[in-house]
Amino acid sequence: MKLESKIPQGSVDTKWTQYKSSVSLVNPANKRSLHVIVVGTGLAGASAAATLAEMGYKVSAFCFQDSPRRAHSIAAQGGINAAKNYQNDGDSVYRLFYDTIKGGDYRAREANVHRLAEVSTNIIDQCVAQGVPFAREYGGTLSNRSFGGTQVQRTFYAAGQTGQQLLLGAYSALERQVGLGNVTMYSRHEMVEVVKIDGKARGIIARDLVSGKLERHFGHAVLLCTGGYGNVFYLSTNAMGSNVTAAWKAHRAGAFFGNPCFTQIHPTCIPVSGHYQSKLTLMSESLRNDGRIWVPKKKDETRQPNDIPEDERDYYLERRYPAFGNLVPRDIASRAAKERCDAGYGVGTTKMAVYLDFKYNMINKYGRTEASKRGIQNPSEDVLLELGKEIAKEKYGNLFDMYKQITAEDPYEVPMKIYPAVHYTMGGLWVDYELQTTVPGLYALGEANFSDHGANRLGASALMQGLADGYFIIPYTLGSYLSKEIHTKPISTDHEAFVEAEKKVSDRINQLMGIQGKRTVESYHRELGLIMWDKCGMARNEKGLKEAIDQIRALRDDFYKNVRIPGSVDEFNPELDKAGRVADFLELGELMCWDALNRNESCGGHFREEYQTEEGEALRDDENFKNVFAWEYKENNQWELHKEELNYENIKIQQRSYK
């Protein structure tokens, strides 16, 4: 099978406009008889479901949480990018496009990314119209801040809860359509199979997590907006329930998986505190606007951070990357932290942490401004610090409180201790320009697709992409498919394809329940996570990846012999839900290792130790790997690799430099 990216002709800045004006439309009367299934209700899913329903399609939406408002988009903290240039600092659609391609280490499609940059401005308009309370200046205009990997201020935010506010906006639009009867909402439902008829996606099998019953749902098209799979690492900043199951079922049903090994390790997370740890908590990248990252210059430093004098501190990001300093992209900041800790300069009890220190900017940036605002002459350092703390509280209050809650240390007084953690997956289901997977009628949006972020996502771009896909892209591109489906009558869920799919699911569940071994699902998940983190995490090498593949296979075999799932099938049974998800992670983990093993270069978040510059930076191989890896599932965890070549016509490829 040949990969068709369906990128429209023409110059990059006219492709989307051209596409929109020439794509086939579905007339309003026909929309009413077309049924769309949307799985997942995060930013991508909620915005897509609401918008499609507004247009007149009949929509069924599914989420595994108890309410669509709980999707993990809600936890995004820092902000959302848009090329509004409200700050008059030289931003433009081209710059956002350029920064995103470069930030992704030249492994994303130009046409998609340009489209993303184009619609970014519409997103802000739409959200404001919904009543999303973005931060504002005294004059009443919107406020912006900077994020990593850019030199302009284009990030819109609502304190440290931007994801929450954007999701609640999309959720309210979705609930409005539920109230109007245009969307049927199925919460506490998990999609467990794609139903294909004549090669096209025609519905799903969903499991009602409360009753345990399997349900058949027909749709003329199926949209997967099910987020990322960072939880394959067990410990990540993802929610406990975030999973790959829907995407993995789609993959096994024929959808290619793109760049599975591209994982984003976020540099600023609260370090692991013990073996019982169930998840990691992110401290927003926005903190790097004002926090300076450092480690002691001396190994095995025993002094408290505030007692270490300035000249004995190593501000290693400012030292290595003077142009971007603490605001280098995430992959670079993470690797630099790992490098210092591996070299023995780490801090904290585990020595696997670095300091994120706000004191300097509280005094010099905020304290001084505030002092001159209030007309305080020659303020002492203590006065400046107190004034600075007030401003820090306004900007980051909720994050500082959260940090204190978790660690019992007060970041207003002592530097935060942070360490990188798994945060986002750039990989995902391979999609073409229209967001369609390799299965006709099956689409993937948001983090679930292999995305516009290449090998590394810039901060504040995930919210942008999720909403772009849902509000502004799928409403057009879906029409291209559905306009050819207007004659397809709703297919009865008694159709044999539905019956077979349901049987497949119930066999799988019965198999899991029948094992009745000794080990908990959790213990398998934890073990898988350790393998992935050690061998397919921040740094990878051929030997480790090969070992990982063997280990994962052995673990998977053991899982099917020895796992113990309590309770029964026909009741509310969170352990059974988890078992299904871990079973899929055990397959995905192997594929990620294969992907990493085959990509013999370093790029973005994918760092192969064999391929680095003398200075320890990622060494790309554009000759051989300027492409997307798209994996086709064959029987019994065998895969075939396909490649989509990436062409750069508007951006000159060069070594990424933030020095």
């Binding site: 108890d66 509004k84 308009d125 959720y171 609930e175 329930g241 509000y471 009741e571």
Partner: protein, 247 residues
Amino acid sequence: MNINLKVWRQRNQNSEGRFEEYKVQASPDMSFLEMFDVLNEQLIEDGKDPVAFDHDCREGICGMCSMVINGRPHGPKQGVTTCQLHMRSFSEGDTIVVEPWRANAFPVIKDLSVNRGAFDRIIASGGYVSVNTGNAVDANSILIPKEVADEAFEAATCIGCGACVSACKNASAMLFVGAKVTQLSMLPQGQPERQARVVAMVNQMDAEGFGACTNTGACAAECPKQIPLSVIANLNREYYKAKLNGK
């Protein structure tokens, strides 16, 4: 640290529930939910049914976790959700009573899990601005004073967990409804539907079986996002204005 737990166990919505007692070894740096993870692993290894409880993001924002700990939703600390409550807030040998949210409008699904669908239906009845995708004007053409934006934001931080309902002796949902009504009635975008919205939301709230507010203030005291009680004053005012206008 050794902790004694008294946990509400209930098979499903229609069955009788009862308390069961457990002993758990916890560490002070664990979150309350991680302590439950340890308990559940123990139970599964012993061949017993683990305790069902709702949780997802574990960073205090999704609003899914919902435990009443010693009679207080989200436990003894102010301004945190159950997932952010750490065992260092308890002492060696403590006996902790853990129950689900209790309100007729939130039926128990199993053990500590409840159904909060009523909140979604209240939002669906009017908790939105009716603006279809594509209809928006340029974001900066709507100027909003910083103080107004900040106050609207404060109300908008509600995570819909239902602690307010569970804390209220009347199982009233007015803090939840008041927060959304406050946010949208303050902002210029919310003006066209201002009166219809509050009436529809209050009608739906009543229909769901929540009680009437008697201003005890327990909701705001237990709210993990510290939504102030004044949002209920706003709700009252908005509602009376709308009703006296014949909405």
